[in-house]
Every structure is written in structure tokens, then in C-alpha cells.
């Protein structure tokens, strides 16, 4: 057996320098969620204890991500190579500002969803895995944000995809099954395209580490041509699908309105953004030349996505479907940033991603509350919510303005940055599309507000009068007052306001994140500095 060892120079193979305990924060998000998820799954039948454990682990996740972000801000990019195998041989988790920031925001959203879910997910839902799915979804999300290995990224994509399947079908309504079929098949195709691209990239360079790839691509004579161009196109298609960009966005409107609203909230916040993240990571860090080559295509896609989303939103009667299209519209803005590719543009896209994560989650939660209070998701059947709860109305209004990109809420700043970047790049039509999409979004949200909140009751309520909600399930404000729905909604709305009024922190972070990608020296040094 291999027990007796042969003389080997360990330093040629492994990172021998001791790893600071703090650097374990790099792997903490994935680890916490995995342990928490499996624990919750083992506690499957204890439906009372499960939420507590689940929310506890999600809280822990938030703290770990916060600590990680602080550490990244203090120490710069941090790399941990799993199993101590030197990069590019082992799998490196390389955490830069972008990854840490998105991971943190993602975990905040997940925490909020965990709490919200305690109110909306029944015991069957818990028994069949809401918390394990949510926690392991976060494994995938955080893993995707933090990994520095392209194949590993694929694995995390799959983890989050299968968790999302689980969440999507939880409850097993007929409509959910329909949605899940489309979501399932279309997303699977997307992931397979990603895997194909990754396989080809490996075939070309023989390596999988992102930093290593970036170096090798940069060393090429013509880094945007030949087979690499095909790989770039495949990646773009795959991630565009994940991000629900036009014209491969079908899966989103087909499915997001079907599951429990808290699930939609998590999806709206996180899933598409992981696609955007991957686009940024791959096209800014690894394949910058291909990004330049594709920038006109990306611009075109961005414009189409912005408009599809906005028009789609206007065409809906059902709030959740409407919100689904707004998710798409938001993706268009981020794509615009990627198309332009300057530091300002990328940081705008990053900021927008953070904003969109928070606001879309909050809006879906708000839609859930609307359904609880008004008995329906249908704009025709809703009404009188302004009278019913002014505080909730205020929350909704804040979110509505935020998603429309109106000041002084979180959506405004990244919009300005993106328009600025587009104009500076001479793509005024791209900037204009962002503005127009924002305008149409205002109209869409204004219509929700008018119908569901200001109008005295369902469609047909006499002018100037209030009408009681007819749906039997509608709860009053008092009935909802002790509910777990308010805390998460409050947290997210507070963030929306905070990032609107105090954008500096986010601006700084996103600028730092963007410049770390555009000028990846720190990233590369962190990965290959592990030897020393």
C-alpha cells in the first residue's frame, strides 16, 4: 500500500503555509449552508424545530458573509485552495469584493426568505424540504459567487438549480408542475451549454482555474477568435439564459408566478443574478477580449431585454407575473453595463444587481402580503389596501419607486451610473433604453398602486367608495400584525431606502468590485501568491 512514503517535495504540490483561521471564512458560507441543510433534512419530520434551525443557520450565514466581506475589504482578495493543492491544480475559492458583496446580499435575502417562509410555508412544505432546499440553494449561490474555478462554478450552478427545482415544486400545485416543466427543461439546457463551454475551454487551455485561464487567454495573440470565440458565444448564451435575457428568457415568466410566493421572492432575488454574475466574471475577468467582440450583441440583447421586461410587465394582470417581467427588465440594465464594460459600467451593473436582488425579493414578498390582505394576486380583484394598512402601502410604494429607478431609493444610483457609462461609451440608445424601460416600469408599478392600493375595492367598485374584499382568504392588518412576514419585508425595505439615501458604501464596493475585475492583478496575485 501507499503508506510508506516516497520522498516528495511537498511545496511543489501543496500550500504549506498555515492558513489563518479567518481565511476559513472563504469556505464558511458553503459549509454552513451545507451542514445546516443536511441537518434540517435530518430533522425533516420535526417541523417545529426545523424553521428555528434553518433560520439560525441562515443568520449564521449572514454573519459569516459579513465577516468575509470585512476581511476582503481589509486584506484584499482572499484565496483558499481546497485540500491545500496549489492552484491551478486544486479548486481555489477566490473571494474578491464582488463575490463577497453579492454573497452577503444573497444571504440577507435568504435569511429574510427563511423568516418569511416561517409564516407562509406549511408543515408539509417544511417536511418536504423548504429549509434544506433554501439552505442548499444558498450553498449553490454562495459557492457560485466565491469560487475561482470554472468547473466548480458549474457544480454550484447545478446545486442551486436543483434546489430551485425543489422549491419550485414544493406544494405540488398543478400550475407549479406546469411551470416546473418549463423551468426545468429550459434551465437544464442552459446549464448544459455552460458545461459544453467549460469542456471546450478545458480542451483549449488544459486548465480550469479562472485566474489561470485569464492569464492564458491574455497571453494569446488574438484572444477573441477561433474556437475561443465559439466558447465565448456558448458562455454568453448559457449565462444569458440563466440571467433570463431576451430572447432566451421564456422560463422565467413561465414559472416564477407558480410556487409559493416566498420561493418566487428568493428566485427573483437570486437566480438570475447568478447568471449576471457569471457573465461579469467570465466576460470581464477571463474573456475581456470576447466581451469587446460581443459588446454590440450584448447591447442589442440588453435593449431587447429591457423592453421585453417592461412591456411584459405592462401586459400582466397577475402581480407575480408582472414582477417576473420586472426581473427581466432589471437584467437588461445589468447587461447594458456588461456591454459597455468600463469600470463605471461594471460597477453600475454590480450595484444594480445588489439593488435588484433586494428589491425584487421584497416586491414578491409584498405581493405575498397583498395576497394575504386582498385575497388575490389579480389586479382586477384587488383593492382597498391603502385603507387597510398605510404602513404596508408605504412599504410597497417605496419598493415600487425603487424598482422604477426613481430617487431617493436604491434603484436610482445604479441606473444613473449605467446611463452615464452608456453615454460615455457613445451608446446613447442603450442609455435611452434603460430610461425608457424605467419609465414603463413606473407605469406598471403605478398601475398596481392605483388598482390594488388606491382603488376602494375590486374592479367595479363604485367611484369614491370602498368595498370589502370578496375573497374569503383575505386577512386583516390585525390578523397579520404578529406575522413573520413583516420583519423580512421591513429589513429589505430598509435596505432599499438605506442604499438610496446612503449610496456611498455600495458605490465604493461596486467600484472596487468592478475595478478588481477590469484590472485583475489583485485577483491573480491572490491566487498564485498561495505558493509563497
Amino acid at each position: 500500500m501507499a503508506g510508506s512514503s516516497v520522498s516528495v517535495d511537498l511545496t511543489q504540490a501543496m500550500a504549506t503555509a498555515p492558513v489563518a483561521a479567518g481565511d476559513w471564512l472563504v469556505v464558511a458560507p458553503a459549509l454552513i449552508t451545507m451542514l445546516g441543510g443536511s441537518l434540517c433534512l435530518m430533522l425533516r419530520k420535526n417541523t417545529d424545530l426545523q424553521p428555528k434551525v434553518g433560520i439560525g443557520f441562515l443568520g449564521l450565514l449572514v454573519l459569516a458573509n459579513l465577516a468575509l466581506l470585512i476581511r476582503v475589504l481589509d486584506h484584499g482578495v482572499i484565496t483558499m485552495v481546497m485540500g491545500s493543492w496549489l492552484p491551478p491544480f486544486g479548486i481555489a475559492f477566490t473571494v474578491d469584493t464582488l463575490g463577497a458583496m453579492l454573497s452577503l446580499i444573497g444571504s440577507v435575502v435568504a435569511f429574510c426568505a427563511g423568516v418569511f417562509g416561517a409564516a407562509t410555508i406549511d408543515s408539509t412544505g417544511r417536511r418536504y424540504g423548504f429549509y434544506p432546499f433554501l439552505l442548499l440553494l444558498m450553498t449553490g449561490v454562495c459557492g457560485a459567487f466565491l469560487t475561482g474555478d470554472i468547473f466548480n462554478l458549474y457544480v454550484w450552478f447545478e446545486v442551486l438549480l436543483i434546489s430551485s427545482y425543489g422549491l419550485l415544486v414544493l406544494g405540488n400545485d398543478r400550475i407549479q408542475l406546469d411551470g416546473a416543466v418549463k423551468y426545468g427543461v429550459l434551465n437544464l439546457v442552459g446549464t448544459n451549454l455552460f458545461l459544453i463551454g467549460t469542456g471546450m475551454l478545458y480542451g483549449i487551455f488544459g486548465t480550469l482555474n479562472m485566474a489561470d485561464l485569464a492569464q492564458k487567454v491574455a497571453a494569446l495573440e488574438d484572444p477573441a477568435s477561433g474556437t475561443l470565440a465559439t466558447v465565448a458565444a456558448l458562455y454568453f448564451l448559457a449565462f444569458a439564459m440563466k440571467a433570463a435575457a431576451f430572447p432566451v428568457n421564456f422560463w422565467l415568466p413561465a414559472s416564477y408566478h407558480t410556487p409559493n410566493v416566498v420561493v418566487s421572492a428568493v428566485f427573483a432575488g437570486l437566480l438570475t443574478k447568478v447568471g449576471v454574475y457569471a457573465l461579469i466574471r467570465v466576460f470581464v475577468l477571463i474573456l475581456p477580449a470576447s466581451r469587446g467582440y460581443l459588446s454590440d450583441v450584448i447591447s442589442l440583447v440588453a435593449v431587447a431585454t429591457l423592453l421585453t421586461g417592461a412591456f411584459g410587465a405592462l401586459a400582466q394582470t397577475e402581480i407575480r407575473r408582472l414582477l417576473g417581467y420586472l426581473v427581466i427588465a432589471g437584467i437588461g440594465s445589468m447587461l447594458a453595463g456588461i456591454a459597455v464594460g468600463s469600470t463605471l459600467a461594471i460597477s453600475g451593473a454590480i450595484f444594480y444587481a445588489v439593488h435588484s436582488i433586494i428589491v425584487m425579493t421584497a416586491l414578491y414578498m409584498a405581493a405575498g402580503v397583498m395576497e394575504m390582505m386582498g385575497g388575490s394576486y389579480d389586479l382586477r380583484k384587488l383593492g382597498g389596501l391603502y385603507q387597510k394598512s398605510a404602513a404596508f402601502a408605504a412599504v410597497f410604494l417605496v419598493l415600487a419607486f425603487a424598482v422604477s429607478g426613481l430617487p431617493p431609493f436604491s434603484g436610482f444610483w445604479p441606473k444613473v451610473m449605467l446611463v452615464d457609462a452608456a453615454f460615455s461609451d457613445g451608446r446613447s440608445w442603450l442609455g435611452a433604453a434603460i430610461l425608457v424601460s424605467g419609465f414603463l416600469t413606473t407605469l406598471a408599478m403605478g398601475r398596481i398602486w392605483i388598482f390594488a392600493f388606491w382603488r376602494g375595492g375590486p374592479e367595479g367598485t363604485p367611484d369614491g367608495q370602498t368595498a370589502p374584499v370578496t375573497a374569503g382568504t383575505a386577512l386583516s392588518e390585525a390578523q397579520l400584525s404578529g406575522s413573520a412576514v413583516w420583519l423580512p419585508l421591513g429589513i429589505l425595505t430598509a435596505l432599499v431606502i438605506y442604499f438610496g439615501l446612503q449610496p456611498e458604501w455600495m458605490l465604493e464596493l461596486s467600484t472596487q468590485g468592478a475595478s478588481g475585475l477590469v484590472e485583475p492583478l489583485g485577483y491573480l496575485r491572490s491566487v498564485f501568491g498561495v505558493q509563497g
Binding site: 416543466v181 451549454l193 444613473v416 388606491w454
Partner: protein, 794 residues
Amino acid sequence: MTPAVIDDTTLLAVLAPFAAAVVAPALTRWFKHNAAWPLALVPALIFLHFTGFIGPVSEGETFVAAKAWAPSYGVNFSVYVDGLSTLFALLISGIGTLIILYAGGYLKGHVQQGRFFSFLFLFMGSMLGLVLGNNLISLFIFWELTSITSFLLIGFDNLRAASRRAALQALLVTGGGGLALLAAFILIISATGEIEMSVLLGSPDIIKDTGLYLPIFILVLGGAFTKSAQFPFHFWLPNAMEAPTPVSAYLHSATMVKAGVYLLMRMHPLLGDTVLWTTVLPLFGGVTLLVGTVLAVRQTDLKLMLAYTTVASLGLLVMLTGTSYEKALEGAVLYLLAHSLFKGGLFMIAGTIDHEAGTRDVTKLGGLRTAMPITFAAACLAALSMSGLPPFIGFIAKEVLYYGTWGWPGAGLAVTLVAVAGNALMLVIAAAVALKPFLGPKVETPKHAHEGPVLLIAGPVVLSLTGLVLAFMAHTTGLLFVGPALSSLTGEFKQIDLHLWPTSFNAPLILSIITVGLGIVLYTQLDRLRSLIASVLAAIGWGPDKGFDQVVRGIVGFSGRITRLVQTGNMQTYMTVIFVFTAIAVLLPGYLTGGLPEMPEMPEYRFYEWGILFIAVLGLIAVLVAKTRLTAIVSLGIQGFAVALIFMMFGAPDLSFTQFMVETLSVVILALVMTRLNLMPSDHRSTPAAILTGIIACAVGLGLTLTLLAITQQPFDTRLSDFFAQFSRSIAHGRNIVNVIIVDFRGFDTLGEIAVVVLAGLCVLALIRVRTKPDKTVEDSTTDAVQTQASEAR
């Protein structure tokens, strides 16, 4: 002239209303409507603060104060205090004080009065931030905030559909304009690299030099015209009268709607005095003036009459600003001041009448002078100012503006004629609003009318008297208010000497007389005029207001159509689109950038290797040609089996192993699942569809084949695998390198992978176990019945 830096008190003055907005509901809960008194202190103090700037500003000084807000993006919360902003700040805070008091009386006992105060204060702060804003971005933020608060205030009476419509309309029109303005500002920032207004004003040609003048000009106009209700965007303003009267008085006449004019004036040094400017602005302003007055005459509702004259006045201001002629600009500043005073007052009076008499339909009012003497007096003063009669500030303004239009070297005559016509009609309205309800025989009104409480009459009285006082102190007015503001417009220091009484019998005086005469004639023919206009409008039968509905309906309808087109709900379409793009992605870039492979050589396979490849192909064909899905499933096993053998042939026992297992389990699970499915036996795909999908599929396959060939024809970097081979046993203690990679070198992948497996198991469990809510399909229940029989049979 560099602005002096001052302390942060002014910044606090901008923020103070926001603080007031927070406490207003609580105060109102405690003190009821009397909360207006303490609340009014806030704008009063702000007013006081800005009076401190009057002196220095009149000497040509300017000030800035700034707090870093988003320094990473160059955004400061900064104010720029000069003549124009001081004038506006004084109007906003001064009228604001009166409005708060007025609102205290007007909404007395209203359950949402606290909320109303909040909205008003939010607006006040936003408006201050707007007119004082130095940083373009923060200026824009406050600009948008005024739109938002306006939206909330117009829709205050939210149960009424008309309110909701008006609110949404205002939001969309001003918000849409806001987007244009944002685009303009961003263009300015990205083109000039400057973000502070004070800096930009320091080099007036900076924008004209960028070559982006035209787009910036158009976009700024987009913002200004919508906000200031210029034709054809004017329609939202009369509809905004759905808001409670304090709002109409404050936002929709005295302050917010002037934001557009403010913007034009503010940007005048940067954008003004070009052919474009002096053509477009007077044109739109003039049309707006005429349309506004004509439509005002048409109305019988007091507030609507005032609203349309506000439109007209805004047109007049734009027209004057558009001349870029100094005397006309002076007239604009003066008229702006005068208009704020008399129009704010008149709105409040209209509100008081409505509040006390229960109607504001001018045809149903009359003889209120005895019941409401103070209101009547205030109304007279305001109306005289509006009519441009001495001894009121309105008179001086009219004199100066006629002077300006008459002397303008541009289209002076045309502009003058428009101004005269407009002013004459305004006189008609002034008379109709201020005199008609009070004079004549007493008319029975819905409520028994009597004088309003002090909260209601303080505002109009103070504003009307101010109009009078400023006129008598014409010299001071010119020195302290008009001159400094004019300096801001022209970009150079100006001192203005104003007189109440004309020094000579000149053209403006003649024009004034003509105006008054014409006005009186028209007033006598008011009813005839009204019916004439009504019949003309009825003949047209369409207006931008109706157009708005059509546009919204059109957008919504278009959205529905386009969305149904894009999101068909048809899964096959979705898949087709995706694979068409996949085909493009794998074919086009390679073709365009030379990623095609060289002609491959015939590989030297052994016969049995060919045999296995052949079996794989046969397996594929078997799946394809299978007439039923069941046959296809069995055939599926063949290709999987062949793949496993291929892995084995190329030295991958682990893969082969796994492939056999997985392939079998796939088939097993398929069989287990299919046991429950009662499928239609045959799969039909029409020949054209089959050909089309065949082409798509072939394209995808071809593209991937070519790319893969091209890749494999290149030399391969085996660094990673060499490393694994070298250290697999010596350090990781394993002889099966693949397994060592899986559990050690790349164990983290595996960790993720097993998470997927766990989740897949859980997903399936959730799918199978969780019962669907009862509405099962008929088809399903029959299947179940069959199943039950079957299991019983066993």
C-alpha cells in the same frame, strides 16, 4: 466670480422640511388641525434664513455649501445660493408657511390631515433642494421627488378614479420629462466632466463646446416643458386640480410647476441665446399662453379656470425666457414673482369659497361679498395684480415684459401680440374668478357661506398684500429680488431700477391700456366667448388629455400583443428559439473568426472499436425512429451501453463503471415512471416540422463537431493531469488517480455533486409525496382506477 463657501445651515434648511414631515403625523394626532401653527414655524424659519441672503446676493455675491453624499460618484448634497435660487427659496418657504396654515384650516378634521402635512413638507423640502441644488444629480433627485410628492398629493383623494387618473398622469408626464432631464444631466456630466452647476456656470460655453448642445437642449426642454406644463404637455396640470386646494395653490401654481421655468432660467447662461433657444422657446411658450387662456375661458370651475391661466402664465414665462433679451428676462423674473403671489392667493380664495360655500362652479356662485368680506377684499387685490393693473406688482411686471417683448429684436411684434392677447384673457379670468362670485345678487349655495377661519384667510390676505407692498416698494423690489435673479439669468451682475408708475407714456403703457380695454370688452362677452370656444373644442373633439388615455391604453394593449408574441406559452417554440441561437453560437463565431478545423484524418480504429461506434449510432437511430415512446426508452439503453464501452476503450474504467450503472438506473427509473403513464401510442410530427427541427439539430451538431475537431487538433496542455499523476500516490495515497481527484484533488466538486444528489432525492420525494389539491383531472382518476384494479389482480 467664485462662490463663497458657507456653513451647513443652508443644507439643514433644505432638510428641515423632511424632518417636519416625519413629525407632522404625530403632531397632528396631538393638536388636531392646530398643529398647523407649530408646523408653520418650520417654513417660517427657513424663510427667515433665506432673507439673510437677500443683501449679499443683491451685491452680486454667490454662495455654495456642500456635504459629500456619494463621493465615489462625485455626488454631493450641495447648494448654490444666488439671486435666482434665493428668490425661489423665499417663495417656497414663504408661501409654504401660508399654505401649511391654510391646510390646517382646509383639512380640519380630515382623518389623514397628518399624512397631508407630511406630504406637503416632503414636497417643500424637495422643492428647496431643487432650486438650491448645485450638484446636477442631487438637483435631479429633488426634481423627481417633487414629481413623487405631487403624485401622492394629487391622488390624496384616492377613492376617486379621477384623482387616481390625474395622479398617474402627472407622475408619468413629469416623470417622463424627468427621465429626459436625467439624460440631459448625464450627458452634461459625461461630456464636460463637471457635475456642479456653479462650476458649469463659471464657464458658460462649456456645453456649447461639447458638440452635444442639440441633444442636451432637447432633453432639458423635455424636462422643463413637462414640469412646467407647456403645450402639448399641459393637460396634466388642470387634471391635477383633483388634489386638495392647498396643493393646487402651492404645487400647481406657485412653486412646483415653476421648476421647469426655474430650470430654463438656471440653464439660460449655458444653453440660452442660441437660434434654437430663441426660436423654440418663444414658440412653445406663446402657443401655451394662448391655449391656456383660451381653455381657461372655457371653464366654469374656479380651480380649473385658475389652472388654465397657470398654464398660460407658464407659457408666458417660457416665452419671455426664450427671447434671451435682457429686458424680457427681467419681465420674466418680475412676472414669476407676481404670479406666485397672486395665483397662490387666488387658489386659496377659490378653496375658501369651495370650503365655505360648498361649490366652486362659477355659474352657481354670486353675491358672497357680504358673507365673506375679507376674502372678497383679498380676492380683489389678487385679481387686480393678475389683471396687470396698478398699483400692483402684476402691473409692473406687465409693463416690463411688454417693454421686453416690444424691444426684442427677434420676433418682437409677434411675441408682443401674443402677450397682449394672453394678458387680456387673463384679465377676463381674473375678473371672473375674483369678482363674479362676490358681486351681483346672492346665489343660493350648497353650504351656508360665511367668512372662513383665520387659518383659511391668512394666506390669501398676506399674499395679496405682499403683491401690493412689493409694488409700492418697487425700487427695493428691483434691487433686492429682480436684479439678483436677472443676474443669474444673464450670468453677469445686474442692478435693476424699478418704478411703480411709468416714467413716460411709452409703448408698454399703450399696450397695457389696449390689454385692459380688450379684457373688459371680452369680459362683457364672456358667456358668448365661452360657448364659442366650447363649440370649437367640441368640433375638434380631441385633445392631449384624451390622447393620454389613448396612449396609456395603447401602451398596455401593445404590451399585451408584443408579450403574447414573445412569450407564446408554447414550450416547443421556446426550445426552438433556444436551439436556433445555440446553432448560431456554435457556427457563426467560429466561421467569422477562423475557428474551423482542418480536414481531419481517418482515425486508426480497430474493427471492434468501429463496431462500438456503429452500435452507438444504431442506438441513436433506434431512439429516433422508435414509433412509440416505449420502444424509444428501450432503445435508449443501447446508446448508453455503447457510450460506456467507448469510455472503456479509452481507458476510463471508472467512467465506464458509472455509465453502466447510471444508464441502467435511468432506464429503470424510466420504466418505473412509465409504468404509471398511459400515453398515446404514437408520436406524430409533421414532415415540415420534422425537417425544420432536423435542420436545427444538424446545425447544432455540426457546429459542435467542427469546434471540437478544431480544439482537438491543437496541442494539449497536460500540466494538471501530470500533476495529479505525480502526486496521486506519493502524497494523496491513492493509486486510482481518478478517484483521488474526486475525493481529494477536486473533492470540493464532489461535495457539490453529492449535494445535488441529495437534493434530487428530496425533490423527487417532494414531487411524489406531496398531494396535489383536490382538483384532479378526469384522465388521472381513470388511470388510478386502472391501477387499483391491476394491483388487486396481482
